[in-house]
């Protein structure tokens, strides 16, 4: 898996270190991290293969998303190595990949379990970097985890291609030179949803937010609040709910008894399933609010997986999503076909973003002609590409955020199949969701 030469060298160092254990602290600089590494961390040198680290939640609340991400990664590896039908490698533009691995080296991978916990995710990523010699880490289905792992990779000078993470912070105040995000963010959700919310619910609504109490929830609450207040809405109360909450009835009853008339659920995954369930069981959606208007529910970020978890409750509810398998473009069709051929069902948006990220990394290596992040990072910064399911897309150099169209979706009232749960209401053009790179602060730092 990893390079022989590096291994021998490292062993000798270790031996030396072991013997001279007592002297370790007297000999400061010689033995610091990666003393044996050549140009950059985990340089594959003349090895015939390279290792990528797929760090996804395999246990815990997001493990279904994690499983789907892993499927996508395996598919991507297969395609990179020239197997399968090639998937998006047939559509991607521009493309330098040749189907012979990356830079002629076979792609191998290691997997790890983030448990959706930052420390566990970092430990897993560390193992991939230190033990398995991974050149790039990717994955995650929680912004907390993504930010934590991104920080670690930045310190270790290893590429991090974020998976599902929607917080503004990932490419905002916590952005890092070595981290790249393809997924959209909370600000974009707010900007994309605002017009349609105005159209559907008018511009004098009163919103009641229930917010998952962590990085992502905070930024989404802020983004939606800002976007809707610009429409003329007012925000009654932003209420934070602990991530561990399962019964939201107390929160819902307080919302009903407030003078609000739109419930915004800044929840993801099981949290959202539970809070929506409580809202529906209190008949909120059939009620007239104290303002005299019909109660409405908005779930700014939702996915097909979440819709599946909510069953009938989700029908008719508006939200935004990064990508959906039912999109009509050729790239989407190619990806869905190749994924469904292999696994028997269509991919989730998490799977899509992870697959695309893997290909984008590989492509950037090809274009840079090296695995050295010093070359790969510039190759990704400002890179423009198309035909990967989201239309024309750009990796903005200033914050490593992808800019592309955003989908506004609605829970399908009449699903024809068990997968047909989201109806794409509108494809919001990139221009409408774009913002200044400096808006969320943060610093990329040096290479």
């Amino acid at each position: 898996m990893s390079d022989k030469k590096k291994h021998e060298l490292s062993r000798r160092t270790i031996l030396k270190t072991g013997v001279a254990a007592g002297l370790v602290f007297a000999t400061p600089t010689i033995l610091t991290r990666n003393a044996w590494a050549s140009e950059f961390t985990n340089d594959p040198g003349s090895s015939k293969s390279v290792v990528l680290g797929f760090n996804v939640p395999q246990t815990g609340a997001y493990s279904e998303e994690g499983a789907d991400e892993l499927r996508a990664y395996k598919l991507a590896v297969e395609h990179l190595n020239g197997g399968g039908d090639g998937g998006l490698m047939n559509t991607m533009k521009p493309m330098s990949l040749k189907g012979n691995g990356i830079l002629g080296k076979k792609v191998e991978y290691v997997t790890g379990d983030t448990q959706t916990k930052s420390p566990a995710a970092r430990a897993s990523a560390k193992r991939m970097i230190e033990k398995d010699g991974a050149l790039m880490i990717t994955g995650g289905s929680s912004s907390g985890v993504a930010i934590a792992v991104q920080g670690l990779c930045n310190e270790a000078k290893v590429m991090f291609m974020a998976g599902l993470t929607h917080s503004n912070d990932t490419t905002g105040k916590d952005k890092k030179r070595y981290g790249f995000r393809h997924f959209f963010n909370a600000y974009m959700s707010g900007q994309a949803l605002a017009p349609i919310l105005e159209k559907e619910f008018g511009n004098s609504r009163r919103a009641y937010h229930l917010t998952a109490d962590y990085s992502w929830g905070w930024t989404q609450e802020e983004s939606i609040k800002n976007a809707t207040e610009k429409l003329g809405w007012s925000t009654v109360a932003p209420v934070r709910t602990p991530l561990t909450q399962t019964d939201f009835s107390s929160y819902i009853t307080q919302a009903i008894n407030s003078d609000a008339d739109v419930l915004v659920l800044n929840h993801y995954g099981k949290n959202m399933n539970d809070s929506l369930k409580a809202a529906v069981s209190f008949d909120l959606r059939n009620k007239i609010a104290k303002t005299g208007k019909q109660w409405e529910v908005v779930v700014p970020l939702f996915s097909r997986k979440m819709a599946q978890g909510s069953g009938d409750d989700i029908k008719g509810i508006l939200g935004s999503t990064n990508w959906n398998w039912s999109l009509p473009d050729a790239a989407t069709k190619a990806f869905v076909k190749s994924f469904a051929d292999k696994y028997g069902f269509p991919p989730s948006m998490a799977a899509h973003t992870c697959y695309v990220q893997t290909l984008l990394y590989a492509d950037a290596c090809e274009r840079a002609g090296t695995f050295n992040p010093a070359g790969v990072i510039p190759a990704l910064e400002g890179h423009k590409f198309d035909n990967m399911g989201n239309g024309p897309t750009e990796y903005r150099a200033e914050d490593h955020q992808c800019f592309k169209d955003v989908l506004v979706v609605r829970g399908n009232p009449n699903p024809s199949t068990q997968f047909d749960l989201l109806k794409v209401e509108q494809v919001v053009p990139r221009s409408q969701v774009e913002y200044e790179a400096s808006m969320f602060g943060g610093e990329l730092g040096p290479i």
Partner: protein, 338 residues
């Protein structure tokens, strides 16, 4: 006033779940002397009984959906609907209440298997070892369930007819906006019936008498020449059934996942301690009390005064109770009072 009433109602269904789990825990502890960390798993298994029944009832005939060309998609029509039309639809609609019929025997079997297969070897071991082995068992069972049902919560719904909310506000002459989901009312009521059933069983059957005597003085009952082993098994099975029913009926309130039992277990232990280790009425009373207290603590008005109180109220109550009245609200004097 309305806010207070609605918070009491809110606490009721959660309190009912606490009470049912705590009841079984206490039963096992009082008679068998077992501290069962796998009890939460029994609640979870009950919930998955309901899920399984629903899955069985909705076994579907698959028709290829020609409109989807990218992959093989199917339209699914449950066989029950094909065979029996509206009757079939109704049966599926009522799958949660129907699952009770299936849950009871299943939980009895699981209870017996657990007691005979594992717990009985631990009657003479320390509480610490009991905690540890049942903790291990809980992990194993959870993982097995996860293996078969996945990690995500499974949406379950109450029968259509009770899917809405009861206009409790209107009933009490208060604001119309005050409503409460029917199913949660049913759940609270159901738990009262189950609790009543357990108490009646203990009060009026010979088994029950032995169990109560056993809770009072375990050693003596053993000396009476009663087949204590079989009684123990039955008590454990009863505890399993109570937990299982609590779980099965809870599914429409919170979608079940493999981890749901553990979350409730820690709280239920605290409930048992507050009620008084070994006191059945104590467990029930403390369950409802803490459920309602928790609900009050999550009111925004309360949280503004004491931030974070909703997160710790139950534990705080437990700490205070243990320190000032170690035998709990209704525990007998001297029972593990040290």
């Amino acid at each position: 006033m309305e806010a207070i009433l609605i918070q009491i109602l809110n606490g009721l269904d959660k309190g009912a779940a606490y009470a049912l789990i705590a009841l079984g825990l206490t039963l096992a502890f009082g008679t068998l002397g077992i501290v069962n960390f796998a009890h939460g798993v029994l609640f979870m298994l009950g919930a998955f009984c309901a899920v399984s029944v629903n899955k069985i009832l909705t076994i579907s005939h698959k028709i290829k959906d020609e409109s989807v060309t990218l992959f093989d998609a199917y339209k699914e029509i449950p066989y029950l609907e094909i065979w029996w039309g509206d009757t079939g639809t109704m049966i599926i609609d009522y799958s949660v209440p129907i699952s009770i019929i299936f849950t009871i025997p299943t939980m009895i079997l699981i209870g017996i298997a657990m007691e005979r297969g594992l717990i009985r070897f631990f009657y003479k071991r320390t509480h610490a070892e009991q905690i540890l082995v049942t903790f291990g068992l809980a992990i194993v069972v959870q993982e097995v369930i996860k293996h078969f049902f996945g990690a995500n919560p499974i949406p379950m719904s109450a029968p259509e007819i009770v899917s809405g909310s009861a206009p409790v506000g209107a009933l009490f002459g208060l604001s119309d906006s005050m409503v409460y989901p029917w199913w949660r009312l049913i759940y609270s009521l159901f738990s009262v019936i189950v609790i009543g059933g357990v108490f009646a069983f203990l009060q009026y059957t010979t088994y029950g008498m032995v169990v109560r005597a056993g809770m009072a003085d375990r050693d003596t009952v053993g000396l009476l020449g009663i087949n204590i082993q079989r009684r123990f098994t039955i008590v454990f099975a009863l505890a399993a059934v109570v937990a299982g029913l609590a779980g099965a009926m809870y599914t429409p309130i919170v979608g079940p996942d493999y981890h749901m039992g553990m979350e409730l277990l820690v709280l239920s232990f605290v409930v048992v301690v507050v009620g008084g280790m070994g006191s059945l009425p104590g467990a029930v009373a403390a369950g409802f009390l803490l459920g309602i207290l928790e609900s009050f603590a999550s009111m925004n008005e309360v949280k503004q005064i004491i931030p974070g109180i909703d997160q710790i109220i139950i534990y705080l109550v437990a700490v205070v109770i243990l320190l000032v009245r170690p035998r709990g609200l209704m525990g007998r004097k001297g029972v593990m009072e040290d």
